[in-house]
Structure formats: C-alpha cells, structure tokens
Symmetry: C2
Subunit: 368 residues, 2 copies
C-alpha cells in the first residue's frame, strides 16, 4: 500500500511517499473484529504464513503458528502480516529512492523506531478500515505488540508478546554494536552508500549474522547439535583459516546465505530500533508506570534457555502489568532451543497460543 | 632464551631457532624445589608481576596475585612467567623470520597447541635446571597447567587451574570462529601476509576484541557498569553509526586499543590452540580416563558468573580427578565479574590461592 502523506518520526524527521508491504490470510468478518496483526523481528517480513503458488519452499516464517487449523487459526481470524519501514523485503527501505531527492536513500534513510513502525502499521489498518485488533509478535515483534498497547491502547483488545523484553540490556546492545561495526567498517560499506558503488558489504553482513546465530541458540542446543564434532572425519587439519569444526561450517554457511539477501543498512536500522525501544525511559525506568495506559489483555511467552531475551525480562513485563491490575497470562516454556524457540514447534508453546486464541474467539462469538 | 634445536609440534611440523621470552621473580632455592610456572591466556605475556624500572603503568597482568607478600609470595617462591610460541610479546611468532626461508612467517607460522606450548615450557625449565614445579594459570593458562600434569606428571607437584575448562564447548568455538573470520576477511589481512604489505587488519582485530570483551564480562556486571546509559546526556541522536550508549563507547575503545598492539596471526593461533585443547578426545571423551596419569595435587577455582568457562566445566575436571582418587581442592567463588574475575581482586579468591600456596610452602619446609 502506498502512503503519500508524510509520516512524522520519533527522531523529528519524517518520511513521505512510502510503501508498506503486507499480506493477509483468512477473512475479515463483517464486524471487522477478528483482525490479528503480526509484527516481525529482525530478518523476517510480511510473509508470515502459507506458500506462494508454484514455490514449494516459500513457507512464511511463522507458518507453523498461523494458518487454517493452526494455533492462530485463519479459519476464524483475519491475519495481517506487515513488513516494516526500512526493511529490505518490500516496504520502503534504504535501497529505494528518496522522493525528495530522487537519490537512493542509503545511509540517509531516517532512523525508525518501534514506535514509528507501530504508527505506520496503524495507518495501514486505518486504510483497511480496521479499528480494533489483536497484535502479536516475537522478539522485536513482541516489542511492537507491547508498544501498540501503549500508543493505541483503545484499539488493542489482546497483545501476544513472545520471547521479548521491555528493553535491551547492555549485553544485547553490545552484540548489536559489534555487528554494526563489522558492517560499517567493511570497506564495501562506503558509509552506507554502497549501492552507488555496485558492491555489497558482505564481509560485515556475514560477521553480523554469525554473531546473531550464536545469540539465537542456547549453549545446550549448540552442544547437542554440534558439540566438538569435526566437519571432516576425526583428523585435525591444524589450520587457523580452514573449517575444522561443524559449528564453524554452520556459522559460515548461515553468514554466507544471509549476506546474499539481506541489506546492510536495514541491519543497522533494525538493530538500532531494538536498542532504542524502552517505554519505561520517560518514566524514569519505572515499567509499571509506563504500562499504566495498556488496557489490553496480554499473553506473554518466554523460553527457559533463551539468554538473549530471558524469561526474567518477560516476567518484568508481567509484573508491571499485574501492578496495574491487568488481565495477563504468562507461559514460561521449558524449551532447549534458546531464543530460536519462538519460531519452532513445541507442543506446550503451540498449545498455549492455541488456547489463548480460542478464548479470544469465544469472546468474539459472545460479542464481547 | 634461544633454542636452536627443532621442537616437534603436534601437527607434525616443527619449529627451530626460536626464542622463548620469560621473566623470573624471587629466588630459586638450593633444592630447586620452589619454582612456580605461570602460563598465560589469550592476550597476556611473560610479564606477570611487578613494574619495569621507570615505567609506572607497567604492572604485570597478574600483579595482584604474584609478588612479595602476595598470594603467590615471591619471598618464598621462584616464579617464572613465560611467553608462548606464536605470541606477539617477545617469544618467536608470526611476525618473526623463519630461519629456514629468511622470510617473515606470517600465515606460515606453524599451528601450535597447548601441548606444544607445554613442551616448549618444559625445555625452558630443563635449561634452568628445574625438574619439579608448581604450574598455575587462568583460562587458557589453566589448560596449560592441566596439560602439564598429563604430559609431565612426574614433574608437577601442584597444579592451580583457574577459570578454565577441559575443552571448549560449541559456543566457545563459535565465538572464536567469528573473531577469526572478522580478521581473516579483513582486506588488510592479505591471507596472513599483511606484514609485507605494510598494513595491519585493524578492522578485524577490533571486532575480535569487542566480541571477546562481551564474553569476558557477566550480564550482571555489564548492566551494572553500563546498563542503558547514554554516552552524551539523555537525548538520543537517532544515528546508526555514531556512538549512542556507553557500552558502545567502551567496546569501541577496547577494540581500538587492542588493534594497536596485538598481532592478527597471533590471535588466530591462540584461539585455535583453545579450540584444539581436548585431553579427553583420545579417550573417547572420557575425562576420568584422560586424567588418570595426572598425579599432581590440584587447586581448581571457578567463578559463578563466568559464562565463558562456567563452574560446571571446572567441576567436570574436579569430578574426573576425584574419580582417580586425586588430592583436589576446589573453590567456586561467588563473584559478579564473569570470566574477568580471574584477573581481579576478590578477597575470597585471593585468600583461597594464598592458603593453597601456604600449604605448598609448609610441605616444602617439611622437605616433602
């Protein structure tokens, strides 16, 4: 959907003449009361479920969660997947032309925040004539769901916040910063204007992705999947540059793949949006005060081995909501997979989300 | 000390005509029974204690631990600090000439292992006429101490293994690999032969060091020291490339400093030595079987918030030694500082080491 009017951004800048890519699944009911907005995390998109015609391997990133008969059942709900501004998967981003200058944005793409994304999503829903909705997301997507309940409290009936946090801690920011430095110091980055040089800072993107993958997995699952296994048999090569261990091979593969399709400026923008999100900041760090306006009902889910957004961070949100007397459900899932667990099949996790959406559906049926 | 004769290496290669840098503190007694060898970790050297004349800020890296009246009391013990082969602090390394070719080694410096270092250290002690010794080290240094007890069981009376592990786990290897890739893919690395191009792969070294620093600190101490503090006041800059948070400033500073003095090939070699160390490998992963030859008495120390070499890894060693009926003391120190704790002052830690060395001293006095 194209938006001509300028969207004011938190930084004071604005962006105009932009596109927002989205997909929908299921049918919007006559009362327009069954919409579920899905917010994406770092490297995902609006393609949350299903496969594209003729493309077998094109499953949406949350296809195990969303679809007919799935926990978020598109036989009952109208699901909207949205791609955020600054992304490289369809919505306007740094690789597109700035209508004011006719030049590719590059590093001049404005810094966008979680709050800005939510405002852009709200405009999309306005254009679709949807007033009330359920918002759901994992990780950075969970931050957007939480922010919806603060920016548009009257519109959000339920928020589902999975594997998320009320802000990044110092270690989270540190990992983001190393990834950003790897990208920004790659000679092919050209200060963010690499498009005009016909190159891509692949070295930096590879490093960024390798760091990311370490933080997505738990120590346990890494040891189980890779341990100290050598890639080629049992004999050591005694080499510092060749691949020796399976884990090295896995990380290099993930890094190479990512560098082929992801945009370097998008990576900087999205990690910065993560860094900046901190609804408690203007309340002197008091999260309970910050969440006082959130009148939605909440489901929070966390995973025991997630050390990127640990259960303790979800519990902070739960506690702050309870301080405000809100309706909160919380599931802490004992899963081995670390942060990645939010994307994986786990029957307890899937069942928790399924029951929650069934209860939402019952309340819709009851006309509540 | 110069060694002309070739040292056979685990890889099958050998190195000849090399230097080993070392320092000593205190006096070797007549019986030559009071020697303590200190093995260093990643970026340290033979300069373990004291300051150089006229250089105020030149404290050795374990100066809080070693010296007159300190836990390892040089009024009683003869302490030897040794720099490992491949290092960039005095012993022969990749930046030196290969006597066989007359060329700077660069990437052709042979891969050295913990076992190779121990063999080189043993030669140094042979040359000094020292047969029996105490070996002590932290982190990678602890691996050397452990390896001493397996390679030269009859020579080691006591081994002090601090914040170490019987091998790296997949996550440890993963962090090393990302750091290595950052260095090896820096265009200034030139396949390890950057010396002849008059450049230094500083971008890669910076990233490597930033990653290292994240893993040295605990989550808690990072939050306490840096949290979400902004470097310049309270207003956000809304920038992806400028420093915004204190933690970013800290990491960039550490990275810049490191890139000025550390050698890129040394970084690859030392992280590889860490990856390769695994005494249980030839016993099918059975650490108890692997440590059966270790007849030394042991002190192991770990730190509760060390997530790089967690207490669980030290306990594996303790258990394997107990399986063999060895004399083992173990102190698990409740310290907030993460892996870095092994270099910091903590009275319980310092007292544990002090008492252990006092007991060694009493056994020396008793002529045992």
């Amino acid at each position: 959907m194209h938006f001509e009017a300028a969207l004011p951004l938190q930084s004071g800048a604005s962006i105009r003449g932009y596109d927002v890519a989205y997909e929908t699944y299921g049918q919007l009911n006559a009362a327009k009361s069954n919409a579920v907005l899905i917010c994406h995390a770092l490297n995902a998109s609006h393609h949350v479920a299903g496969v594209y015609e003729g493309k077998d391997k094109s499953e949406g990133w949350w296809d195990n969660m969303i679809g007919p008969g799935k926990p978020v059942d598109t036989n009952h709900f109208f699901v909207i997947g949205v791609n955020n501004l600054g992304s490289c998967f369809g919505s306007t981003g740094p690789m597109h032309k700035n209508p004011d200058t006719g030049e590719i944005y590059g590093a001049d793409f404005p810094v966008v925040t979680v709050e800005d994304w939510v405002n852009a999503q709200a405009r999309l829903l306005d254009a679709m004539g949807i007033e009330k909705l359920v918002v759901m997301g994992g990780s950075l997507g969970g931050m957007q769901a939480l922010s919806w309940t603060l920016q548009y409290p009257e519109r959000v009936t339920h928020a589902v916040v999975v594997a998320s946090a009320p802000n990044l801690n110092a270690e989270n920011i540190a990992f983001n910063e190393v990834a950003r430095r790897a990208i920004a110091t790659d000679p092919d980055f050209h200060g963010g204007h690499f498009y005009r040089h016909g190159v891509v800072p692949k070295r930096g993107l590879r490093i960024a992705r390798m760091i990311g993958h370490i933080t997505y997995l738990s120590d346990d699952v890494m040891n189980e999947k890779f341990g100290r296994l050598l890639r080629d048999g049992v004999d050591l090569k005694y080499s510092t540059q060749e691949v020796e261990f399976q884990i090295e091979s896995y990380l290099r593969y993930q890094g190479d793949k990512f560098a082929e399709y992801f945009d370097a400026n998008t990576y900087l923008l999205i990690t910065r949006a993560l860094d900046y999100f901190d609804p408690a900041k203007k309340f002197g760090g008091n999260l309970s005060a910050a969440l006082a306006d959130a009148t939605a009902k909440f489901l929070l889910v966390s995973f025991t081995t997630d050390w990127r957004f640990s259960p303790a961070r979800s519990r902070e949100i739960v506690r702050a909501l309870l301080d405000n007397g809100r309706d909160v459900s919380y599931a802490e899932i004992d899963a081995p997979h670390g942060h990645d667990a939010f994307l994986l099949d786990d029957s307890r996790y899937m069942n928790a989300v399924r029951s929650y959406f069934e209860s939402i559906q019952r309340s819709l049926d009851d006309g509540q």
